[in-house]
Amino acid sequence: MSMSGEREDILLQVNHVRYKKNNGQLYLSQTRVGWMMDESDTFAVSVMYNDIRTQKISPEGKPKVQLQIVLHDISSYTFHFCNTEGREKQVAERNQVKERLGQLMTQNRRQPPDELMEKKRMLDESEQLQQLYRALVPTAIISVDEFWKEIAGQYKQSLGPQLDVGVSGAFLADVKPQTDGNNGKIQYNLTPEIMSSVFKTYPAVRKKHGEYVPHRMSESEFWTLFFQSHYYTIHTNTRTQNVFSECSKHDDREWNRDVLSTQNDPLFDLDNIYEERPLATDSDLKIGGTKAGSNAMHALMIKRFNQQSLNIIKAQTHSEKEKLLDEIAAKNPTGGGVVANGQPPTTDIDQPKSKKARIEEKLAYNDLEKSSTTETPALTIHQRDRYLTGPTQNTFSNSLHPDQVVRLQEQLDVSVSRWQPTLPNSQDAESATRALHHFSDSCRKGRSAVGVRSGGQLPGNLHKELGQVYSSAGELLRHFWSCFPPRTPQLQEKLHKMHETLCRYHNVTIRPFQEMAINDYNCNSSILDHLTEMFHIANTKFENWKARNSRHYNRAIILGIVVALAHDDCSGMWAKVTTGSWRNF
């Protein structure tokens, strides 16, 4: 339970935290939370974030300020914040811990949740994969790790990439409320999709959701308040303490910041829209300086619409930045320094274009410029004859003189018109009967005799099992053939392994199958001939490659010895001889 093995950075430390009536300190690190008693140097409590299911805080009214961590196995740890400086400090500390803990928990949860569950899910989804698994792993033909790495890896690749969903421009408008005629109640249908869109667009709302649900209020209450708030309706009571009033202040601050940046851009001519520099106030009835005519209500509506659109666009670019962060984090897993709300490194997307570049962009219209023709590579055909005729001897046959051709044609005409069939002289009787016998024998034997009655099929079960054997054998053979040509040492190693696997498969599965076919189903032993031939060919290829490789190896040794001898001799003549012989090899 001690953290002595690894040097984990302590991200947050809070003193004056009591656990089970003992004073101590609470520590939050990258992967776990721990509590250490005063004057002790080992952690009494150490919990990984992955084990934590939820955290709870004590309600507002209670005298004690507590934080409880609930694990997956229902056990829980309760920490009591008892800072001597007073209750506010305790509450502040506790909230700080809660926020940080929440962040770290979600961060850690981003890793693959449970490998075993995922594997089970994959097997359930694809029957083919399941069959392969059953055929190959229990019989120890292929080890479990290899199976998941090679075969399942290919399957996962064929599934395609994980896609994210964008935020539709009209997502709030699509939440069509239905009025219940009797009571005047309005019903909103919320789907998880709409909820995730709202969270993506308004990160402030997501934070609030995390804080309030499920401790202080239920989901439905939260969403009801949301729809009553300024996000959805125009009339808000700013007097009442509203969940979303903080959000509205946050939004207004962002809005003013964005408006400032847009106004300050020298290339935009916005005199018609903005009358003066906006004042940075917190009251949400200030419109941010836009000229909106006489009606303040219209101006408010316009501002709200603009805010929503801007937030949707920001959600898009934010997700792009997050993806970049994820990629960077994936590349250095031990870095650990990238925290969720840290500053992302500036990328090409972020660099603001210089003023000159922007002016030039505005001046160029590609309609007006000369159209540039793209270079297309030209096709040159050498040796045109090779395309039109097959590979033949290079000689052009001696062409006949045209007169000769005409004479030959006349002769041909004459002999064709004069020809009479003379059947008795075409072949003698004995050879004719012999030929007939030979043909009828071959026809009777036929090419399609499988050891089953001609025209019949294999019995159902045998057929199905044969199909399964074919598919598992095919899979193994595919991995075998994909190793050729083995250029890298990994491929060579894989080749050796696949060869062993194939031999094992042959012994374990194919031989018994053949015997079973003969004994149980009384079939001709030739049904597996084709499969054995495939194995045989693969084996031959492997042997050839091995022989060629070892030959090279032997040659290399011999040459090495010769060159060493030449070195000893220190005569240039020897060295020349060896290089010559190398080339002749």
Binding site: Q128, S158, G160, P161, L163, D164, V165, G166, V167, S168, G169, Q316, T317, S319, E320, K323, I349, T374, E375, T376, P377, A378, L379, T380, I381, R384, D385, Y387, L388, R447, S448, V450, Q457, L458, H463, K464, L466, G467, Y470, S471, G474, L477, R478, W481, S482, S526, I527, D529, H530, L531, E533, M534, I537, A538
Partner: protein
């Protein structure tokens, strides 16, 4: 006819519809057909002349069709709906594509509801794609399309292909928006790096994002006016595009299996293993690993060798040795009375005003034979039936 005075101050849109009927003129016998045929003739000929010869083409193509199945496809400006009309055209396109490009592969992706899904992997087999299209006729069209997600799905499988193939994406887009999870620019960069050529056929209006994508990747962007035009635009993609400069040219290993094998052993075919094929000797055996396949062209699933027959490869010869254009001469200058192709007697009149003469064999063809020979047959019957010309290769 009552002639309306054209008020010179009127704008074009104020003066009503474009009076296309004024372009048609009646000829002396009062028939309209000659002028219509003349217009069609001119259009067709112009298209043929545009195609250049002696350009290196990417003949081994891997094409992904991205079909937009969003709400915009329910519009009825193409009868009966854009959805059904497009699927019918794609049906023909798929059959023609596999006919004319036997060593190419096609795949189908759809996008709706802000997601994209791959319905049919890259394969040589047209039947699978046709089944997929049939299933799509019953799928409802809803939601918004997502260009970025669709491109990502296509990218994930196109990027693992060897560099000597021509990778293409053809997007059929009817919506006016695209709801993406991130920035399309980032995906566009990836597409450009992987040398993929994206073309778009639009059904509604021109979009800047589509224009950007096609411009950056070197593809074509066109909008269809009606259903005939849509068919024409999609059929333009049957021809292999010019090869990009970055494409490698390498030697590819290809297997030519024989159909008749004297000592073949009965086997199950690898292409239908899921539905328990029959154990027999009908089919083609791969020359490298002897796996059996029912139909060619195919890619051997066991050893990865490409299996084709010689006639399949020969179909691409028409790109290597294209038929040269015939020279157009007025009927009066030529001495021939009959068309060499169809034996039609030339009538002086609008239809046969011009006849076409092959520059090699000097035979004369009528207009319809000219179009037929250049579009479908790709060889000249005059040259082929002339004994001296067919033996010695012509100098091109």
């Amino acid at each position: 006819m009552i002639q309306e005075d054209d008020d010179p101050k009127e704008y074009r849109w104020e003066s009503g519809y474009e009076k296309t009927w004024e372009a048609l003129q009646e000829d002396e016998s009062g028939r309209l057909e000659p002028s219509v045929t003349e217009m069609i003739q001119r259009a067709k000929r112009r298209k043929l002349l545009e195609r250049e010869a002696s350009v290196r083409l990417g003949i081994m193509r891997h094409v992904y069709l991205i079909l937009d199945l969003s709400q915009a496809m329910n519009e009825q400006d193409l009868k009966p709906t854009r959805h059904i009309c497009t699927l019918k055209i794609l049906d023909d396109f798929i059959k023609e594509f596999h006919d004319q490009n036997p060593i190419s592969q096609l795949g189908i992706i759809t996008t709706q509801n802000k997601m994209a899904k791959r319905h049919s992997d890259l394969s040589n087999n047209p039947q699978r794609h046709l089944d997929c299209i049939k299933k799509m006729q019953k799928m409802p069209c809803k939601g918004e399309p997502s260009l970025q997600n669709a491109l990502e799905v296509a990218l994930s499988s196109l990027r693992h292909l060897p560099p000597h193939t021509s990778r293409e994406i053809l997007i059929i887009f009817a919506a006016l928006t695209s709801c993406d999870p991130g920035e399309v620019g980032a995906t566009l960069q990836k597409v450009k790096e992987d040398n993929i050529r994206v073309s778009v056929v639009g059904l509604a209006a021109e979009l800047h994002v589509c224009r950007e994508i096609t411009k950056e990747t070197g593809g074509s962007y066109s909008i269809s006016i009606n259903d005939m035009h849509l068919k024409q635009l999609i059929d333009e993609h049957l021809e292999p595009p010019p090869a990009s400069v970055k494409m490698d040219h390498t030697l590819i290993k290809v297997g030519f299996p024989h159909q008749i094998n004297a000592d073949a052993k009965p086997a199950l075919c690898m292409c239908h293993l899921d539905d328990l094929p029959l154990l027999n000797t009908q089919g083609y055996y791969c020359p490298q690993c002897t796996a059996k396949y029912c139909d060619l062209p195919a890619e051997c699933r066991v050893c990865g060798l490409m299996l084709v027959t010689a006639p399949h490869l020969a179909r691409s010869y028409r790109h290597l040795f294209p038929l040269k254009h015939y020279s157009e001469i007025p009927l009066e200058e030529s001495s021939a009375k009959l068309c060499y192709g169809c034996q039609k007697i030339f009538i002086t009149g609008a239809a046969d005003k011009y006849v076409y003469k092959c520059r090699n064999c000097h035979q004369v063809f009528c207009f319809n034979c000219d179009i037929f020979l250049h579009e479908t047959v790709h060889s000249c019957p005059g040259c082929a039936s002339n004994p001296t010309l067919s033996q010695t290769p012509s100098n091109t």
